[in-house]
């Protein structure tokens, strides 16, 4: 375990060095993200000025959904940045060089490019969410605990998604875009899942689990989620993680017995 942490730190240090090298690019990336966040927040604010409520949620509550989406999205992007660069490793065959290392390949291809610079927006989103939670007030410690646990639960689902993308990257050559589909679909979780009408809402909640990932934490915080749904959320994330790991193993077996 100590070795794993040391290696991940060494990789992260290297990715900082790479960003420092292309400073202009890194700053542009950060600026772009902040611009998008700022403008989306403004839009949401002025929309809410007009409507007062969105699917029954107040301005503060809607913002909490929006911030929670950003927290989960930002952390998973920050941790799993390397997944975006996985295909070239397979195409060039450099993946072989990763496999002969005495360490699990995930250390390289999943968390081998942690982007420290992204901590800035992540902290900003967390700070914003904390500020709103404090403003809403009158929330019990349990509700806040459920919120945190369900955010982590959302991150577990995101992890499963990313592992799935890696597995697909090995199995098929036509899936360079799986990760983009993932990002586009999760973007539907910008707003509370309740804005969608059936059957779209159910599809988004359970099949493409945006609801469980992005909306459940806030609903639990606001005391609007029955305990059985919390249980479903945890079972869902555990299940998706197991399935994605199975697929990864199957993909590896295929790579190691079929590729040349």
């Amino acid at each position: 375990m100590k070795r794993y942490i040391a290696v991940i730190l060494a990789y992260s240090l290297n990715s900082i060095k790479v960003s420092i090298q292309s400073r202009a690019g890194a700053i542009a990336f950060l600026t772009g993200k902040m611009l998008r966040f700022g403008l989306s927040a403004l839009f949401l604010y002025f929309l809410m000025q007009q409507t007062k409520f969105l699917a029954g949620y107040t301005l503060e509550q809607t913002f909490l959904f929006f911030l929670t989406f950003n927290i989960i999205d930002s952390i998973s992007q920050q941790l799993y940045r390397e997944v975006y660069r996985f295909r070239p490793h397979i195409v060039s065959g450099d993946f072989d060089m990763i496999l002969v290392k005495p360490i699990h390949p995930f250390v390289r291809v999943l968390v081998g490019g942690v982007d420290i610079l992204d901590t800035i927006p992540t902290l900003l989103y967390i700070g914003g969410a904390a500020f709103i939670i404090q403003r809403i007030g009158m929330l019990s410690p349990e509700q806040i605990l459920w919120y945190i646990l369900l955010v982590i639960n959302g991150l577990v689902i995101a992890t499963a998604f990313h592992i799935l993308v890696l597995a697909m990257g090995i199995i098929s050559t036509e899936v360079d875009h799986t990760i983009m589909i993932y990002r586009d679909i999760t973007r539907m979780g910008y707003f509370p899942i309740d804005i969608y009408e059936e059957p779209v809402r159910s599809i988004l909640t359970f099949i493409l689990p945006i609801g469980i990932m992005m909306s459940f934490p806030v609903k639990a915080l606001l005391g609007m989620l029955a305990p059985q749904w919390i249980l479903v959320a945890f079972l869902f994330s555990a299940g998706s993680l197991v399935i994605s790991l199975r697929l990864w193993r199957a993909a590896m077996a295929k790579y190691q017995s079929a590729s040349s």
Binding site: G25, F29, R36, F43, F46, Q50, M180, M188, I195
Partner: protein
């Protein structure tokens, strides 16, 4: 003429080669449409108007914005930056017809494919969800829409072209392009009508080139010809002139400074 047809066919063929890319771009567009549709349908619940738009008008706006997004903002001019960076632009320059005919033909084909898909998608969407729609009473509004659509197309082309020209001077062209894409996605008006914002912010936005790509044509279709259209025309044409001359100048300068050797 034959040359252009052959070129158009070659462009269409590259769609087959990159069909997954294209499908992804369309899926993204449809997902955005689904999200916006439901967002606005919640926003207008129980209201006769929101920010001056009746429900039928707001639905019309977002469908139009989606269509304009596909038409105006789809472009392959950004390939030019890559061609300049890796030097393959030389191959285009050595061919017996101008690189602008090549780019132009590619753009026309690209936009026609996108328009076709966009219309089909929106028609499908409308037939499923059957939202109320508002059509302009005055046919002049449609003409105004078409005129400003043309302006939007040319403006967007030159913005993309000018950004690609940066490749003559720096390898990190993607950084400014990334920021521009974000500004366009937020400020062009493809997600919401810009007059949702308070007047001060709205007027500041109108000073930038972005609203003339999506918001302005859609607004004219929905609202008809109002006195404001004169402002739109002045600023829109002003930006077009500015960006176009910038693009032309940087093309000429870049070609002079570009070293063909050692790339």
């Amino acid at each position: 003429m034959r040359k252009y047809l052959l070129l158009a066919r070659a462009t269409l063929k590259t769609y087959l080669a990159y069909r997954v890319n294209f499908i992804m771009w369309r899926i993204r567009s449809m997902l955005t449409l689904v999200m916006l549709y439901f967002l606005w349908s919640q926003a207008v619940v129980g209201k006769s108007e929101i920010a001056g738009y009746a429900p039928a008008e707001i639905y019309t706006y977002i469908f139009l914005a989606n269509f304009l997004n596909a038409t105006v903002l789809s472009s392959r001019v950004d390939q030019l930056a890559g061609d300049i960076l890796n030097g393959t632009i030389i191959n285009h320059l050595l061919k017996p017809f101008s690189i602008f005919s090549l780019i132009g033909t590619r753009e026309v084909v690209d936009k026609m494919v996108n328009i076709l898909f966009s219309i089909a998608e929106i028609a499908l969407f409308i037939s499923i969800f059957r939202p109320p729609l508002a059509f302009p009473a005055d046919p002049i509004a449609v003409l105004g829409f078409l005129a400003f659509l043309l302006l939007a197309l040319v403006l967007s082309f030159y913005v993309s072209f000018a950004l690609s020209m940066l490749a003559f001077w720096t390898a990190e062209v993607w950084a400014p392009r990334f920021i521009f894409l974000i500004l366009i996605s937020m400020l062009a008006g493809s997600l919401f009508p810009l007059d949702l914002f308070p007047p001060v912010l709205y007027n500041v936005m109108l000073l930038t080139p972005f609203p003339y790509m999506v918001y302005v044509p859609a607004k004219i279709f929905v609202d008809g010809i109002t006195p404001q259209v004169l402002d739109f025309a002045i600023f829109g044409l002003g930006w077009l002139g500015l960006v176009a001359s910038l693009a032309h100048m940087s093309w000429l300068r870049g070609m002079k400074e570009f070293s063909f050797f050692g790339r």
